[in-house]
């Protein structure tokens, strides 16, 4: 029993938490931006997969790591544009379109990967992002190892959550996104174009989702393999609700989920001999459902979420 608690005292656990949380932070922020403008984007799972593939592919073919991130973001933006084109001006079902994009983007990723990389027992690798030691902070015992020896995208994710929180609450653009998600007719009456704003939000949000995927192949691991996203996109969708559509809480939620995940990995090493590890795999998801039960009841949903806007209609 003590061993199960000792896990919390290891700096490695906390370092892993930040690492595991990073793709979730990107993905959740992306989904949150889409939803705040009133568009549910269930394409996230596929967009993350595609981002993971195309980011890795860019680096594998000689591009830089940041070029990989940029290409992934661009690919996400394109899928976002597709999703937005179907759901915003055409007003098609956001569920159906999003799921369609997930299936399409995932399959396309596997197809491109399969075409360009020969099948082999061990997938080819790249040199991923390396941890950056922050002078001064990284040398602090325990804390330094736990929090300040991450790769650059992790710091970027945390910075982005802060920027998104401030931008949504305190800038004209953020207010415009919120009012479009609450009542597009109110936005229109104020001279804001809901259609353009929603398309923009979905494009930007989807780009972030793809960056979250790219983190998996360019930082967390060093190779791409099918099914590696493993439902992280769906976790992000749930985290948005958990976060009550607020970026700061999304950051917190992603960290919490990552803590459960990192903990279960270590726990299965400690007591894994007696119990099948699949049981531990369920822990983060069970905890998420519990957390959702507590948090989501008080959540304030954007009032126009999933309601297509048609000019001149009420």
């Amino acid at each position: 029993m003590m061993e199960a608690l000792d896990i919390f005292a290891s700096a490695g656990l906390w370092a892993a938490v930040l690492r595991i949380a990073t793709p979730l932070i990107f993905g959740t922020l992306g989904a949150l931006i889409c939803e705040r403008s009133g568009v549910l984007n269930l394409g996230i799972e596929g967009i993350m997969t595609f981002g993971a593939m195309i980011g890795w592919m860019t680096v594998y073919h000689g591009g830089g790591l940041w070029a990989g991130i940029a290409v992934a973001a661009l690919s996400g933006a394109m899928f976002g544009l597709l999703h937005a084109a179907m759901t915003v001006p055409l007003g098609l079902s956001q569920h159906v379109t999003g799921l369609g994009i997930t299936l399409f983007a995932s399959s396309l990723s596997y197809y491109i990967f399969r075409l360009s990389i020969p099948v082999s027992g061990s997938p080819p690798t790249i040199v991923p992002f390396q941890p950056i030691a922050i002078p001064g902070l990284s040398d602090i015992p325990f804390l330094g190892e736990a929090l300040f020896s991450q790769t650059a995208p992790t710091y970027l994710a945390i910075l982005l959550a802060v920027v998104a929180a401030i931008a949504l609450a305190r800038t004209p653009l953020g207010l415009a996104v919120r009012i479009v998600g609450e009542n597009p007719h109110a936005a229109e009456a104020q001279g804001i174009d809901p259609i353009r704003l929603r398309i923009g939000a979905v494009v930007v949000g989807s780009a972030l989702m793809a960056v979250g995927g790219a983190f998996l192949t360019l930082s967390a691991f060093n190779s791409f393999f099918p099914t590696m996203v493993q439902g992280r996109g769906w976790v992000c969708i749930a985290l948005v609700v958990f976060a009550s559509w607020k970026p700061a809480r999304a950051l917190l939620g992603a960290l919490l989920f990552a803590l459960f995940d990192a903990y279960q990995l270590r726990l299965s090493h400690v007591v894994g001999k007696a119990i099948p590890y699949q049981l531990f795999l369920m822990i983060p998801y069970l905890m998420s459902i519990l957390a959702l039960l507590v948090m989501a009841r008080r959540a304030r949903v954007p009032q126009a979420l999933m309601q297509p806007f048609r000019r001149g209609e009420r």
């Binding site: 004209p172 919120r178 009012i179 109110a186 229109e188 009456a189 104020q190 001279g191």
Partner: protein, 501 residues
């Protein structure tokens, strides 16, 4: 009048398919003027204002504001030209604060900072100058309807609107709130703003406007100075024929049909006492949101009282449920006619028999007898003059007035013993109001007990024999309608019963 013309519409024509919503409409607005645009539903008032504001593009004609022609179809250009519009259905985001609703879209999207401090100062200043009190930091969803309307007006003023357009501004307001609004508008006009308001309520137009433009069938049919016309003349111009609201004949009420004593409903209603007799109308007046919805649910068997007793025909109702109430002869006219009254996508005949599907005449061996249903629908359509479709048309194609006639008709065709009518003429135009009132009075004359729940003073005065006010879930003692006048009813609705007595 020598004030300069600030806005003119010249030869505006707009067609939707085969329907001509506006037909060569020309009108002018002068500075500091309060102009009423009067017309029935479907006369083209809202279309005209939407063209003016750039929501729609006209097929022909032009809009000139302060000497500049406005580009068609561009709300932003209208805003920039100093035109502000207050929509009938408020264009507000309930989850955002007042200040956020006001400043959204006022700064370039990519600039940093909302300038909330300066905005708050300006908002407070505007509130004070025009008498539009509202807390800038309140969440809009927490505000009353009257306050939300003030936010709408402030939104326009914040953008330096010098011309204000209000689409049916009092449709959702109480009598007091409406009077306050018109006083505010008068003050704004005195400060040099020019205002157009759309209405189909004659008394408001007479009381508030300087000038009245009457629209009928998309055309301007008349223009009058408010001081040089009368309610009767305007009514005739608006409808195109003489309409007189029917009168109530006095008659002796019969036995008690519905009696409530000490009725409670989980904190929403407290200790209600009332009785309705056969051949009598009890009017329950009150500002909406004071427990009317719950009262209606109780009177229709949709909800069980948490305490107290409800008696139908002198016997306590043991287990209230909607089917039992329908079978016992309770007719219901729900407040939200499209939400609770009819199913929009279903045919007119299906809606006509929906409540009575279980009765053997409409179903046989578990199958619906369509022929009998259509026959019933046809008889309702004919007797109650429902227009706009046959038994097989989807009911959503009907206008509000015709939907209401169908709902009334399917109830009254069965000669109910009790009719529960909630806001029966809300949103209807003059012609439809007259016919709905006529039907309710006819039912009363035929011995039906009527429980009328309304926030329209004129309606209660016209239909009811006795009046009670509902305030915060409590009912005032009843007063005979002969002793009721708008002032006394207003006080009762404000919860001041002793003073009103």
């Amino acid at each position: 009048m020598s004030a300069p013309v600030v806005l003119s519409l010249e030869g505006i024509t707009k067609r939707f398919g085969s329907l001509t919503a506006n037909d060569d409409v020309t009108l002018e607005l002068r500075q500091g003027e309060l102009l009423a645009l009067l017309g029935e539903n479907g006369a083209g008032k809202t279309t005209l204002m939407n063209i003016l504001f750039g929501h729609y593009t006209a097929d022909s004609g032009r809009v000139v504001a302060f000497g500049q022609e406005l580009p068609p179809g561009k709300p932003r250009a209208a805003i920039a030209a100093g035109i502000g519009m207050v929509h009938q259905h408020f264009a507000l985001a309930a989850n955002l604060s007042v200040i956020e609703n006001v400043v959204a879209g006022t700064r370039p999207l990519l600039s940093l900072g909302l300038g909330a401090g300066a905005a708050r100062k300006r908002l407070v200043e505007l509130s004070a100058r025009f008498g539009l009190a509202v807390d800038p930091d309140a969440r809009v969803g927490d505000l009353s309807v009257g306050e939300r309307q003030r936010v709408e007006i402030l939104k326009a003023l914040y953008r330096d609107a010098r011309i204000l357009i209000l689409d049916e501004p009092t449709a959702v307001l109480t009598h007091q709130e409406a009077e306050q609004l018109y006083a505010t508008l008068r003050g704004m006009a005195a400060l040099g703003l020019s205002i157009i308001f759309i209405s189909h309520k004659l008394h408001e137009v007479m009381a508030a406007a300087d000038r009245v433009v009457v629209l009928r069938g998309g055309k301007v049919v008349a223009e009058r100075a408010a001081s040089a016309t009368s309610r009767e003349e305007l009514a005739e111009l608006m409808v195109g024929r003489r309409v007189a609201r029917p009168r109530r004949e006095s008659q002796e009420p019969g036995d008690i049909v519905l009696e409530a004593s000490g009725l409670d409903a989980g904190g929403r209603l407290k200790g209600l006492d009332f009785t309705v007799r056969a051949g009598e109308t009890l009017g329950i007046i009150g500002v909406s949101g004071n427990g009317q919805a719950t009262l209606v649910r109780l009177a229709c068997g949709l909800e069980k009282p948490s305490a107290g007793r409800l008696m139908l025909y002198g016997k306590p109702v043991a287990d209230p449920n909607p089917r039992g109430f329908v079978a016992a002869g309770v007719g219901r006219v729900p407040e939200d006619r499209n939400g609770d009254g009819v199913v929009g996508e279903m045919a007119l005949w299906e809606n006509a028999v929906l409540e009575r599907l279980r009765e053997p005449r409409f179903s046989r061996a578990g199958f619906v007898d369509r022929a009998a249903g259509r026959q019933f629908a046809r008889s309702v359509i004919e007797r109650f003059d429902v227009r706009g479709g046959g038994p097989d048309s989807p009911i959503r194609l009907l206008s509000g007035g015709n939907v209401q006639k169908l709902i009334l008709g399917r109830n009254l065709a069965e000669a109910p013993k009790l009719l529960v009518a909630a806001q029966p003429t809300r949103g209807l135009d003059e012609g439809a109001v007259a016919s709905v009132h006529g039907e309710i009075l006819a039912a009363r004359a035929a011995g039906t007990a009527v429980l009328l729940i309304s926030e329209d003073l004129d309606e209660v005065l016209a239909l009811a024999d006795r009046v009670q006010a509902i305030v915060k879930g409590r009912l005032s003692p009843p007063i005979p309608v002969a002793a009721a006048d708008p002032r006394r009813l207003g006080l009762m609705m404000a919860g001041i019963w002793e003073e009103a007595a």
